[in-house]
Symmetry: D2
Subunit: 331 residues, 4 copies
């Protein structure tokens, strides 16, 4: 596993279950497979996502600030736009995949942004991971000009984006979810309706906060047990048959050698970088402050990943928390 | 589930696996089923354990400081001793089940303690949850007088003790484990050899530390998600199909109404009390300090459970962390 | 001391020192004492501040959303405006004192906000405690319309506001500071130039973050020492003659009976409320996240004050952290 | 200042005050200046302390496990003993200065320990910084053999030991304090009676816990303020005139260049090492666990200093917390 497969191994079972659940909408055919789609943000994730739409027969009109990304996809048949605003003038179905809240604000409400020329009845799907309150703000602005904005952040890494294996967590009005699901199904395998706008972001940052907590917790626990004389594989086995088990202990153990094919057994290369986890934990903290929710362990996990980011671990997989904790005196 | 089933629902699968593993010893018949067993400590757990030995045909000689506990088991056929020392003079196979390190020190090395009259070749099995270094100290003292001391703390609560369903985590010399397993098999369903003396305690406190971290983490995450507008059952489902899943989110969710039959849906009655979790976390902190292992989240979890114990939650199940976090201004 | 005297007892000495320091500007006579001043926000603090300007001969034009506050000050001679925009149309020197970032955004950039009719060359002084990045955003917007915005949050509570004893921490361009100081001198005794716009807020939230940390730290330490058998007055004396001393141990000790005249000796009434401290710590956390600065203790202090706010301490002085930590099992 | 002057600059003022306080005993002449004194532990601190006794005319009988330390002091006139037991057989006034609890247990109750041949009526003064419960245990054992044990840990570093400038925090029975003070006055300038046995240790670890909290708090705050654009000297000045001030911000600021003559301005050389602070925080945590006292910030400070000790900061002054927090990505 060279990138973070954020959905657990048993997700197929759950996905099957989910389809029977009324909250997870059935596919309605609002968007014909030949509908033109706008796509803004052709980075590591967005580039793959856009190509999966083309593979499914959707003509694309795209924008990115990086010229090389634009030229590459043009060769594969996409039409280039000179701004998000131009994208919006050409299609009523747009997907955005951007690094952070500030970029979303700019792409939607900036001087050459989408909302400057959006068509009435447009569906705007933002798959960026950002502050839920920014999603809600964009939805309000969109409503004013007659468009529908939904948040649909993803879990799953670059490989899942390439293989159309992403999970989308969607915050959207009920009546729009069918159409949202229809297009996202072309790029992912799970499309979960979480509630009204912003709840997709909420679900994403909640999951990642608990993931960070249990990863650091697993790292601490494994390190303590080893210092107390326990064999790490045996300790992992005991935890996993007991109440201490979690995804991080079972599927993504941070101790080198306990599991094959995870970043910890590959010098913490690949996977989900510490800097990205730190960013998501920052969003969780902002949301916790805004809603006055106490999150003592989430908050401390944020601080520890911040320290790691400042101490040389920014580009390593987030399971390198184990290495950070056990490091010996180097000075 | 009215008491903490610390081993996850899939433990039977794991247990089957474990039996094929050479570290988990097969049963050797060193102790005939009619061997007399000494038992010191007849509390909520010990009383049930002792009775399970009697059901399996073992005559018992027992000691406890509570006269009622003594009289009750006497009626069921046990012989009473006037001190741990007297127990040791009557049998060479003794099990102890005591509240804390101090009691173990007293029962073994006190003025009328076991080591005062222990027979050479005796096997002394301590199932208390105590400081691993105290276990090691007791083992050293026992060796001096020709006896073997092993630590074998349990997971599983009162019901598991009654139903012979406990899991024992054993720290013992390799050559003693077969005999240890033979007798513990009468009181539990899993007997795991963790390594040398002290590692049983180590495994126990490691598991409970990670359990505490993931329980508080789950409580924080569920509370934050709900404040952000997510339905708790839906959020639990999303976490459990994703990388945030852990035993606390899946099997023992702390939010009332998400799962049936867990303490959170019964006003946090039953289960594993906050005060007991706090005690175990104190042992983990002592072990972490002694081995110079950083445990930032384990340490903060200890402090939060300490605060809860001081704030009216001592007798509630440890999943009441959710209630502690979400409580509203009462003033 | 019925309100928080956030500046230490020796502040007069420091203030004298400060005046000789070039960073703390001397008074230039840009604003004659009869200049008309706009004032928006007539709450507990703002009401006193506005009245102090009137006492110094400044005619006022005011706005507040609470009619009673408006009527009361009208009787004392102030002119009422129907909106912040109207205030801006009547004077080029405006002071705002508002509860939080959202109100500042609204009062300056809302549909009837100050910037809608501000005069070129106006000086806009915001004494609210808000996110430094919002101050910077307001300064940018003001520059676009030819006005100068500065942040000047205060320390000192209601009594200091009434007695013109506030300390102002000012973030302003160098060339504006003289004029800022001249008007703020009418309402306070210290006016400190912290640097460019936003640094006034930065200084305020930094001070309060360290205050929160050392207050909780003092509460923990006093409680631990008392549990270890130390007399609280003696322990305070030892700390205060040693390296553990801080403002909270010396001037504002959180243990009832150690000092007279502080909230801890008055059932934690008066002083600086826990809910307000929690708000300031939220600002500090947002600033730390935005600047990627690790603040592990500041972050945990925020969480602890959040828990206190949720547990019945919202209206008590923030030194009630001692009571929160030591409370005994009430259930 | 090349070593930690743990008592603040104004300690002389306080010391004068203290002498007028009945809790700080006046000197009684129980021990004539020619009394022979036993001294065990001739390390960095103990060596200086012993020499100060000789300078005051006390013949010494000494023991240390390091032969060179023994030979050096022999040349200066001390008599050598072959064990702590031999020291006890030669004098009834003994001072011990040892690294940790385990050494104290060994020197007093080991097979060739002091209590093996102590004379009735002996006064045993332990200046080690250890677990208060170990001090209490030693006092009990001493009482059984007719001797008096008191704890008298010091603050002040190697230079204060050399210059007879230490502060002693004494836990002793009231009736023994006069005699204790008389001898300790030869090695220090403040001798504070904290209460019964163990309270000297309690005062020491309480002070150091609050010191650690406020040092990390100061480091976080200074770093955050600087990232927000504040000049560090100006920020320190603002904190020190406000409620955020503490010994660490005022006297021992951790930011290089803010103060002269402190370790932060000398690459964190000298001072009070991070590893030693970590040890003291471990004692504080053990005491907090034993007394069931919540210490959330003390506990997190312990963990952070543990991480620093593991990350190359063990030998640096504890104010290097600033460097640990601000370090940039080195990878």
């Amino acid at each position: 596993m060279s990138s973070l497969n954020i959905v657990a191994r048993n997700s197929k079972v759950f996905a099957a279950q989910i389809c029977r659940n009324q909250q997870f909408g059935a596919s309605n055919r609002h968007a014909s497979s030949s509908a033109k789609v706008g796509f803004v943000g052709l980075g590591n994730m967005g580039g793959h996502m856009a190509r999966n739409l083309m593979k499914n027969g959707h003509p694309l009109i795209v924008f990115d600030t990086v010229p090389d990304s634009m030229q590459a996809i043009k060769k594969e048949g996409a039409t280039l736009a000179s701004s998000p605003q131009e994208v919006a003038s050409q299609t009523n179905l747009i997907i955005t995949m951007l690094p952070a809240s500030q970029h979303v604000l700019d792409v939607y409400t900036g001087s050459s942004g989408i909302l400057g020329s959006v068509q009435k009845g447009s569906l705007l799907i933002d798959s960026s991971t950002i502050d839920p309150s920014v999603s809600q703000q964009m939805a309000e602005e969109s409503t004013k000009v007659g468009a529908t904005f939904v948040d649909a952040p993803v879990s799953g890494g670059v490989n899942a984006a390439r293989d159309a294996g992403l999970t989308f967590m969607v915050g959207s009005p009920d009546q729009s979810f069918g159409k949202v699901k229809e297009i996202l199904d072309k790029m992912g395998k799970n499309v979960v309706h979480c509630g009204s706008v912003g709840t997709g972001q909420a679900a994403k940052i909640c999951n990642n906060m608990l993931l960070a907590i249990s990863m650091i917790g697993t790292a601490e626990t494994m390190n303590l047990g080893m210092k107390l004389g326990l064999d790490p594989k045996l300790l992992a086995k005991i935890l996993n048959m007991s109440s201490g088990r979690c995804w991080s202990s079972e599927v993504y153990n941070p101790v080198p050698g306990v599991l094959d094919g995870v970043p910890s057994s590959n010098d913490y290369q690949g996977g989900f970088g510490t800097a990205l986890m730190t960013k998501d934990l920052g969003l969780a903290q902002n949301a916790a402050t805004a809603t006055q929710s106490p999150t003592p362990l989430g908050s401390l996990s944020h601080q520890l990943y911040r320290l790691m980011t400042n101490s040389g671990y920014a580009g390593k997989d987030f399971s390198s928390a184990f290495q950070f904790l056990k490091q010996q005196d180097k000075k």
